[in-house]
Symmetry: C2
Subunit: 689 residues, 2 copies
């Protein structure tokens, strides 16, 4: 519908010319930086290969999808996920290709739990026969399954779940049963509507002897269970299963509930690679080393950190591009009436919200990579029967999962608010990202809770260091011993964070060890109750995680194998310092108390941060470009590469908004809603309430 | 549909018994506290009177509304708003009654801008003739209008808007015109689909003389303009107007865009109570005192603070009730295998997120009340021609709007995360609240930006105090002078925040004056550029606002007219201290640097906060009950008064979820989405993309 708005242009200066000039006036070698970030993973090549498939298929158009209802979003998500799998078959996509497609599609897939937890659990927990029975069919998506662990009344505390699997020696079956309402499985992804099988985690109850009525509870164990008819897709008898309803984000995902009314499953339903029941004697045997389970959790958490960096880079890309071209207010100190409006990103109040997050994306990147490397080494050791690195790995991954997902979740919202009014609009591209990402601080270990695991490990190592017997068990204990040696003699004046980046790393270590030592004192010497220490323990964990982020960042810049050009090294060093200074400034008192640095240095920090931001500002557009987040994924009028922000916002509003196709009756005396339709529309809507 | 789940109960202990016991075991006099909070306003009586109307009308049922699409939510919002107005007519509701109905309905009304900004602007800016012409019809909703100020390219900086109103002396008309795309009106509530009139703010361009081609720009002025046909509701010729599309929250609100293609409006379209154009000579005259405009902005901001406290109280009500009854993990230091799981609210890591926010709700309450009182006094002074308090009022309201809406917006999300997994679910009742509230930090003055106004005022007063001539102009200047007198002699050991609540108030004042003084030094003595000081200025503003919150809280507790019982005073004092200590702890270094308190006191703070929280914990349920947020408004399974959390969550999932009425085809090889419907459903969805 042509009208007079078609020929209107935005006021000068135009977005494209502003971004072009920012790009030209920065010496950041964008391509080299991109290669530096992604070279080893093949991420970019994969992205370039898969992107066109989605771009040319109308099913993956995003602009109007936020007008769909939640039940429609599930339908769309299902259609898209099925289509992606058909494309994968047709074009022989690898698993990485398929994950890239889901990432670019940006809909959580209703098959996500099937392709990850369901298949992985069978692979790890199933014995050879079970793997043979299930894996092939699962990989072909003939059988599609979910993972049913958490319950209505039981989340983090897996030992507390109520669902029962009672061994019946007579029939050699397990009886799955939900004794209460709170025993209902709850939140389990893909279970509500999509999958026909489930791994059900239940308390294994076994009669003391075949004839005994007394039951022994062996704790939670996994069972593979068919839950829906393979033809009708209706729940099997004795099973109540469904979707739990609308929630924060994740619209295309059918998180579910499920209850069992004495449902019998065969002996081979119990996944028996580790624990097992002898079908004839009813004897229970358990795994030699229960720690094996930790390994895969760590892999998941390393992946979460790597994912967090891309999410944050995406939000920062939108924020940097838009605030670089957005103009608002002229300089207050400029008296001329014709002074041009300033770039919003030139204001320190905008910089302080966006640029430390840009630096954080890099920090997460290097630590994610380091975690993956540590995981690979640990994995190799485990194969050789060496479990010694497992505890450190688990400790690191818990604290880092907690801190990094908090950074990303809060970072998206900080970026969104920094966009002002338009950040609140659908064209920001941050609304769905924000809502979808907010599950991360809670899932795979609640962020507030799992910091206990990190702190607990650090306290143990500090305790061992205080005892000081034999060789230190690992790097952390060695560092604790060093702290103890220098505790009383260290002077903060020894550390010059503004002259030496190494001293920055040192300051973070010092503060972390100091807090670990205090926690050790409180727990082991003063014998304080664990729960009374929880706030302190969280501090311990975060300090250690920040220390890891800083040292991994430092090591990456000084890794000669990375072969960084001096220019690139300079830019990365500025980001490193910004991340470090900003973090110190937010925790100034702990750094001071731990004698990690000088009071006068703390006083200098705000100015140092502001200067660094001013230095980074001219390069911000290039620094986000290096992350190579495609426009298709950004789905953001504000963040698009070419800077045509206002044209895109107007196009979405004026030409792609279904609400504008309808004329309404706004006379309050009438019950009519849509002009000319009488009360029909009111009835339609009311019927849905 | 009856099934085996009907007879299931949650595991013991049951929610209702836990809440009942918490209620019994606390000596908080709930009713007296409720009266203390609301007595003077009639809020409770109004709530009790209006609530039944909404409860018995199926149009206001909330449980399933989150399944509607955004276009459906607009239709529903329109239907509800029209219904509420019909109820108001029928039952002779006052304006307060109508506002209460909208508050309880919890949908932003598509007529919201009409009933507030549109009518208020005519009343304040229209001359006598214009008021006679428009007000009656507007109050009867015959004419319904919006307020079109911000534009696609221009938000906070009103002077920068591009829309033009050019005076044509020949025809004695104004020509409204949008010269660019960025001149499009944007974000204006109720404009997209609902209203037929608008107040359009445009640059007033007047020829230098009737025959001259040279134009003088008199800046932005308001014009009242019909934008849609009164019969067809279609846009008038030369006007492009519509809804801007889906956004964060506010689904029932049709925020709009609008462009003009040389649209002619008559001379009396310009609201002329202050500025006016003489129709015959084209002479422009402007208001004697432009400050009058500030007044109403302040009233709006005081209302925002009062609203923020109810929003926060609502989120805290949900968080306290649910975490009080939720059980997770037994005590780690309890060796018995049968130790019961602990109430989640007993963990300090949960308390630290929720209880300071509970205290904050009270802090906001007393400051909102103080702002309203100050506004009333200032208003009375203005009527007498005394504008002297206006600047202080404006300064206070800017800083407090910024800080308090940040508290509330962040507080909702903090509460939501503290709920763990269920906080992420629709049954939390916090999802729509969160999304809807997130506009507040941005609208009516962006929170980061308006802190400049507060800081600017404080710097001026400090400058005057340094000059020290004559009597201090106001309370702030008097306090600045006192600071200057004691600046060098003050010793932190004089202030004993753990012994004297008055010293807490003093510490906050001292730190605020210290930061004001530094800012004055930087700006007036060192002559630093304004924009380089923005981060420092924000700190100045927040410190002053926190100081106001603390002193208003203190004054309210010690106001003898309030007639508080000793028990109630004790409870409020604990909340006062928690708010104060928590705020100090988060800004410890500034308090230390300003000599506002002792280093050793800062060291004691974390333990003091933890002890206070342990003291408040047993009373938390009663303390939120006192806010009297009805279940109808909470719309929260987790926060319901009776504690039947799990029954409600299950009911919503199993019986009230439309997605569970459909069986899907999850075989990826098939394009069929809904079982038995072939490709029909896929086509339906794809057509909407």
């Amino acid at each position: 519908m042509a009208d007079f708005t078609d020929k209107l242009k935005p006021a000068e200066p135009l977005g494209p010319s502003i971004l072009a000039s920012d790009r030209t006036n920065s010496d950041v070698p964008v391509q080299r930086l991109t290669q530096h970030l992604f070279q080893s993973t093949g991420h970019l090549e994969c992205q370039a290969r898969i992107l066109p498939y989605l771009q040319r298929d109308p099913l993956f158009r995003k602009v109007k999808q936020s007008n769909l209802s939640r039940p429609e979003r599930y339908r769309l998500g299902l259609a898209r996920a099925k289509k992606l799998r058909r494309l994968a078959d047709e074009h022989h996509w690898s698993i990485d290709d398929q994950e890239m497609a889901t990432y670019l599609c940006d809909d959580v897939s209703p098959y996500m739990v099937h392709t990850s937890m369901f298949i992985n659990t069978i692979r790890e927990q199933g014995d050879e026969k079970q793997r043979a029975q299930w894996l092939k069919r699962a990989e072909n998506w003939e059988v599609v399954g979910c993972y049913a662990q958490t319950e209505l009344g039981h989340g983090s505390n897996v030992r507390g779940i109520e669902c029962q699997a009672q061994w019946d020696p007579k029939t050699q079956e397990f009886v799955l049963h939900s004794p209460t309402l709170t025993a209902s499985k709850w939140w389990n992804g893909s279970m509500g509507r999509t999958e026909n099988h489930a791994i059900v985690v239940a308390q294994l109850l076994v009669p003391k002897s075949p004839s005994s009525a007394e039951l022994i509870n062996h704790g939670p164990h996994p069972f593979i269970v068919q839950i829906r008819d393979m033809k009708t897709h209706l729940p099997l008898p004795g099973i109540a299963v469904g979707d739990i309803g609308p929630k924060y984000g994740y619209a295309p995902m059918d998180n579910g509930y499920m209850l069992f009314d004495r449902v019998r499953v065969p002996h081979n339903a119990m996944l028996s690679n580790y624990s097992r029941i002898d079908a004839n004697t009813g004897t229970y045997s358990k795994p030699a080393n229960p720690a094996v389970v930790y390994g895969s959790l760590t892999a998941v958490r390393a992946a979460i950190v790597m994912h967090a960096r891309l999410v944050l880079a995406r939000a920062v890309t939108v924020a940097v591009r838009y605030t670089a071209l957005r103009r608002q207010f002229s300089n207050r100190d400029d008296d001329s009436r014709t002074a041009p409006e300033l770039s919003v990103l030139d204001y320190p109040t905008v910089q302080i919200r966006i640029l430390p997050l840009l630096a954080t994306a890099f920090a997460l990147h290097y630590t994610g990579a380091a975690m993956q490397a540590l995981y690979a080494r640990t994995r190799a050791d485990i194969t050789k029967g060496d479990f010694s690195k497992l505890a450190e790995l688990h400790s690191q991954s818990s604290g880092l999962k907690s801190l990094c997902t908090d950074y990303a979740a809060n970072g998206i919202e900080t970026c969104r608010r920094a966009l002002g009014g338009h950040g609140f609009g659908g064209g920001s591209g941050l609304i769905q990202l924000n809502a979808d990402y907010l599950s991360k601080p809670t899932v795979e270990g609640d962020n507030w809770m799992i910091t206990q695991q990190t702190a607990s490990y650090l306290i143990k190592r500090m305790e061992a260091a205080v005892a000081g017997k034999g060789e230190p068990q690992d790097e952390v204990e060695r560092s604790c011993r060093e702290y103890l040696r220098n505790r009383d003699t260290a002077r903060p004046s020894d550390h010059a964070i503004f002259n030496s980046d190494e001293d920055i790393v040192f300051a973070f270590t010092r503060r972390s060890r100091y807090l670990s030592y205090l926690a050790h004192q409180a727990r082991n010497v003063e014998k304080k109750p664990w729960n009374s220490l929880l706030l302190q323990l969280r501090k311990v964990s975060n300090a250690e995680s920040e220390s890891l982020l800083v040292s991994n960042f430092y090591n990456a810049i000084h890794d000669t194998a990375a072969n960084l050009s001096p220019t690139l090294k300079d830019h990365l060093t500025r980001l490193f310092r910004l991340f470090a200074y900003y973090t110190i400034d937010n925790n100034a008192r702990d750094f001071s108390k731990s004698q990690a640095l000088k009071e006068t240095d703390l006083d200098r920090l705000p100015d140092a941060i502001q200067s660094l931001m001013a230095e980074i500002r001219p390069h911000a557009v290039n620094l986000v470009d290096a992350w190579s987040i495609p426009d298709f994924l950004l789905d953001s009028a504000l963040g698009r590469y070419d800077g045509k922000v206002y044209e895109d916002l107007f196009d979405r509003a004026h030409r792609q908004n279904p609400l504008n196709e309808v004329v309404f009756n706004s006379d309050y005396r009438s019950e009519e809603i849509v002009k000319g339709e009488g009360v029909e529309e009111l009835r339609r809507i009311a019927a849905k309430l």
